[in-house]
């Protein structure tokens, strides 16, 4: 009896240790699938699956757009793709260098990994540190995960993969090295982390809110029919753009006003989030991060030289 109980407990632990990502690809347009992550923060429970990964099945291959937060995620992703098509994953397009988007590439040893030159540079400089940080936050499900550097460099403009065409845009708002991908065949816009929807934006590497707002204009002007945000639900209307503009505008106003009033960081971090953003996950948490990163520039813009 005791043995049985021990066995059951042991089995329970094993199952917990192997807790799957439970990836469910969702068809969002012809031959275009999205795996939607949660709008939460990195945790041991979600294994880092807070991100949207997409893939397109062409006549000859599967084009993967970002590869996920871990080796384990990549393996499950490969299995999920095999359920849908026999075609090989031939190309991985990385939208930017953040760990949740690029750490699954190890599971696709035969795929070409492609990114903007600036993204490759940032991966070289910060990739390992970012992966380490993921081990700290996500824990065991990161096991064995390593950074796979891109082996080909993308230029903005038309990308032809066999007979499949994609329009590549080199933008700057989120990390200063952001790839957005527009598919003229289906009208799907893969916005990467230039668009967050129902999830507060992460501003750790933005060159500034003004740059980001410009990028949103560029993206909104494309003839898209479906938007795949980097985080949050896929949309068939411009609600993600509206929310992004409204939210970034609020952040900009908040920081400008606080600097003019003479608030120090802690006070700005405690600012209430407006009611209309109640549906946006982690707004309070991301505000603390945003103030840390962006407020010094707002202070500097308001201040004058006092030296004498």
């Amino acid at each position: 009896m005791l043995r049985l109980v021990c066995g059951a407990i042991l089995l329970g632990y094993c199952l917990m240790a192997q807790a799957a990502y439970d990836l469910q690809p969702k068809l969002v347009a012809d031959n275009t699938w999205v795996l939607e992550g949660s709008t939460g923060n990195f945790s041991k429970e979600n294994g880092g699956n807070i991100v949207n990964i997409a893939f397109i099945v062409t006549d000859t291959q599967v084009i993967l757009i970002d590869s996920g937060p871990s080796f384990a995620y990549g393996r499950e992703l490969a299995e999920a793709i095999r359920q849908i098509t026999d075609k090989p994953v031939g190309t991985i397009l990385l939208t930017h260098h953040h760990p949740d988007h690029m750490l699954g590439s190890q599971a696709f040893p035969h795929a070409r990994v492609a990114a903007l030159a600036s993204t490759a540079q940032l991966m070289q400089e910060e990739g390992d540190a970012m992966a380490e940080n993921m081990y700290r936050m996500v824990g065991d499900r990161m096991r064995g995960t390593e950074v796979v550097m891109p082996d080909s460099i993308l230029e903005p403009g038309l990308l032809e993969l066999d007979d499949y065409r994609l329009q590549l845009l080199q933008l700057h708002g989120h990390t200063n090295a952001d790839l957005a991908i527009f598919d003229p065949q289906t009208g799907v816009l893969f916005a990467g982390d230039l668009v967050f929807y129902q999830r507060a934006v992460s501003t750790a590497h933005t060159p500034g809110i003004a740059v980001w707002l410009q990028d949103l204009d560029t993206l909104a002007a494309l003839p898209w029919t479906v938007i795949v945000p980097g985080h949050g639900p896929v949309a068939g209307n411009d609600a993600p753009f509206q929310q992004m503009r409204d939210y970034l505008g609020w952040l900009d106003q908040l920081l400008t006003t606080a600097a003019a009033r003479g608030d120090d960081m802690n006070r700005v971090m405690r600012s209430p989030v407006p009611e209309r953003f109640a549906g946006i996950s982690l707004a309070g948490y991301e505000l603390i991060r945003t103030v840390s990163h962006l407020y010094p520039a707002y202070e500097q813009a308001y201040w004058q030289s006092l030296s004498e």
């Binding site: 802690n266 006070r267 971090m269 603390i288 010094p296 030289s305 030296s307």
Partner: protein, 249 residues
């Protein structure tokens, strides 16, 4: 009888728990050490009127904002000490305030790991009134070389002071950033080079408050200080190489 005994026991447990929670926020493994080393074992009291505000986690371990607000403390303040208990350079500043200084100080510091933050105010009742904050951190803020060293020509800007004066709540809030690498000697091959002394002075040069600063203060030290009423003020600062910097609010 049995019931009321049980209730009494429960109540007792609850109050004990509450009390434990009240003091546990202030307890730490290093308290006794710093009580002896910095406060010379003098009488003290943990006092929630000394608010130590920090974000719950350090997004940038090289620039962690602290806000110390002890304006609710009665009496006159003779001395203020700030420190981060688990930092390689624990002390942040020692302030000798004049009558005009408000008990409100904001400063950004480096942290090397998660640590309690202490602010101790020596009042005219002879007691140190101690407030406590906590900061979570992945670490590494102290051993990373300063960012501005990577910028070409940074030497030309050392000591430049930017800031503003804000009149609010019947006080003059003085906000400032001093361009300085604040090298703490913990990064390989870069010796200590930091602003170690500053004074707020009035127009006639009379000292309004004196600040001893330590290299745990972040590079480009960013400070908010407050004076009572509407006050003009000057800042004088000096680094450990003897360079002096002056500013006027």
């Amino acid at each position: 009888m049995y019931k009321s005994l049980l209730a009494g026991l429960l109540l007792g447990t609850c109050t004990t728990l509450l009390h434990a929670e009240e003091t546990s926020r202030h307890t730490s493994t290093m308290w006794d050490y710093y009580h002896q080393r910095l406060l010379d074992n003098q009488e003290f009291v943990f006092d929630d009127r000394v608010q130590v505000n920090t974000p719950p986690f350090a997004e940038d371990a090289r620039q962690v904002p602290l806000e110390i607000d002890a304006r609710a403390l009665p009496g006159t303040t003779r001395k203020i000490m700030l420190w981060a208990e688990l930092n390689p350079i624990p002390q942040i500043m020692v302030v000798t305030p004049g009558e005009q200084l408000e008990n409100l100080i904001a400063v950004r510091i480096r942290v090397e790991q998660a640590t309690p933050i202490r602010a101790a105010f020596l009042q005219d009742d002879g007691l140190w009134h101690v407030g406590t904050g906590h900061i979570e951190a992945a670490g590494g803020g102290c051993t990373a070389p300063s960012v501005i060293r990577a910028e070409e020509g940074w030497e030309k800007h050392v000591g430049e002071i930017f800031g503003a004066r804000h009149l609010r709540d019947n006080s003059s809030f003085l906000r400032m950033r001093i361009s300085h690498p604040m090298d703490n000697g913990l990064s390989g091959g870069i010796p200590e080079y930091f602003v170690d002394h500053a004074q707020l002075r009035d127009e006639s040069g009379r000292v309004l408050a004196d600040f001893e600063l330590f290299a745990s203060v972040s590079e480009n030290p960013t400070l908010t200080l407050a004076l009572k009423g509407e006050q003009q003020a000057r800042l004088w600062a000096r680094d450990n190489n003897g360079n002096e910097f002056n500013a006027r609010f």
